[in-house]
């Protein structure tokens, strides 16, 4: 027997303690997951409503005409007008510039112990970048979450913004800062289109990598609208209405992505901790068998010694 009885006993005790910690962490992640899932459902209603209204607008051709107007205006005088109510200006949301540089907003977690959550995002990102870009001048990375920021920094990829410390259940106000920075960079021409890359929460066991184009607003699916010829009155003007709606739409998309990725993070963390606890339990049962065998072996040795000793006396 390589290990002594005491050694095995010690190992069992320490594994038990680790198992307790991981099972507690699993429960914490589970609680966070159910909390954020409740939030996500409420948020889903909001985002569906916004999407519905925006597709209505798109179907009534208001957006297309506004885009046209702005594109011609931008080429003639080149001055971007400022939005009154939001940080994003309307013309910037709509005008499609020639793509010289692409921005990626990569959402990862701040902490570890989340299984393959971070590595799957980062792997997909590296793959995507090496496929689409020849040099580092063609893209800029905005990292939300420490793991991603450290990863891109270590590889000296073009990291232009990092944000750490997103709370477990992020609020809309918290995310404002990220959105504002991303949009300001887009405005000032750091990049000409913005993708948000994150893990989409499918269910508690699976998550899928997603890269969605957020800026400029292009992918509006009007096919789901049934009455295409419905005409809207806009009060006080088309521009004012779009100026209120589209920035809010863009914000809601980014916030939605963050909420989704946080949900995936909690569920990944829960799954990772669950398998850690299971492993600890397996290890404990293996070690217990080993311990019992070792104890039995010791007893047998003692009996043999006693019997041997007694025989020697006769």
């Amino acid at each position: 027997m390589a290990e002594s009885l005491m050694d095995i006993k010690r190992r069992i005790a320490s594994t038990k303690k680790t198992g307790q910690i991981t099972s507690a962490m699993q429960m914490v992640s589970g609680a966070k997951l159910s909390q954020i899932e409740k939030n996500s459902i409420a948020y889903q209603q909001y985002t569906n409503k916004i999407r519905e209204i925006v597709t209505h607008l798109a179907a009534s051709q208001l957006i297309a005409s506004a885009r046209q107007k702005r594109t011609t205006k931008a080429t003639t005088n080149g001055i971007a007008e400022q939005s009154v109510r939001h940080d994003i200006s309307l013309s910037n949301l709509l005008v499609e510039r020639p793509i010289k540089k692409t921005g990626y907003l990569v959402i990862t977690s701040d902490r570890g112990l989340v299984g393959a959550y971070n590595s799957s995002i980062l792997k997909a990102m590296v793959e995507m970048i090496s496929q689409n870009h020849q040099s580092a001048d063609e893209y800029a990375i905005l990292a939300v979450g420490g793991t991603g920021a450290d990863f891109f920094k270590a590889r000296q990829m073009n990291l232009s913004y990092e944000y750490r410390g997103v709370s477990d259940v992020p609020s809309f106000n918290e995310v404002r800062e990220i959105i504002k920075t991303a949009v300001a960079m887009y405005d000032s021409g750091v990049f000409d289109e913005l993708y948000v890359c994150y893990n989409h929460h499918v269910n508690s066991l699976t998550a899928a990598f997603r890269a969605e184009k957020m800026l400029p607003i292009t992918d509006l699916d009007v096919s789901e609208v049934t009455d295409k010829d419905q005409e809207y009155i806009t009060e006080p003007s088309v521009d004012d209405a779009l100026d209120a709606i589209l920035p809010q739409y863009a914000e809601s998309l980014i916030y939605g992505a963050l909420l989704d990725s946080k949900t995936a993070e909690h569920s990944a963390s829960m799954t990772a901790m669950k398998s850690a606890t299971d492993n600890a339990n397996n290890l404990i049962s293996d070690l217990s068998i080993k311990y019992n065998r070792a104890r039995q072996a010791q007893i047998t040795t003692e009996i043999t010694e006693i019997v041997g000793g007694a025989a020697a006396l006769e």
Binding site: N39, I41, A42, Y43, Q45, Y46, K49, I50, E52, I53, H56, L57, R85, F172, Q230, E231, Y232, I233, T234, E235, P236, D240, A241, D243, A244, I245, Q248, S252, Y255
Partner: protein
């Protein structure tokens, strides 16, 4: 529309879910150019909203009027459904008056420091925060 309806469905959604969902005979919203009244069978309309008070006359109790404090956002009316989408909205009965008061004081302090430091961004933000707090207090007091 085949049949003339007399009922307008009002729903108000924010990032934290549906705040309000009822049938109404009259809806009054703070549009950019002033108060805007919407009744059933209104033409489809889209309008941005100001920080202010939404008032709803319900069908089930015509004598009562619901008041909701809204922080901007916009409204779409089509097919007798009025959808109001806002960053945040609170029904008068849900407003916590002490929180609103402290938010007001905080905003006033922020305005003071921002104007001392000549920070126009901060000043604008604080002014909006003040406006929101005042709005909530007004809506709450309106109810009493």
């Amino acid at each position: 529309m085949a049949t003339e309806q007399k009922v307008l469905t009002v729903n108000i959604v924010t990032p934290s879910g549906i705040v309000y969902d009822h049938h109404a005979t009259l809806l009054v919203v703070p549009a950019m150019a002033g108060q805007l009244g919407i009744m059933a069978n209104h033409e489809p309309i889209i309008t941005p909203l100001e920080i202010g008070e939404i008032r709803v006359k319900r069908t089930d109790n015509p004598a009562r009027e619901d008041a909701i404090a809204v922080n901007g956002g916009f409204m779409e009316v089509s097919h007798n459904i009025a959808s109001i989408v806002a960053d945040s909205a609170e029904r008068a009965r849900d407003i916590d008056i002490t929180r609103a008061q402290s938010a007001k004081e905080r905003a006033q302090n922020a305005i003071k420091t921002a104007s001392e430091h000549h920070n126009p961004d901060e000043l604008r933000r604080a002014q909006i925060a003040l406006q929101r707090a005042m709005n909530r207090i007004n809506v709450k007091n309106h109810l009493l």
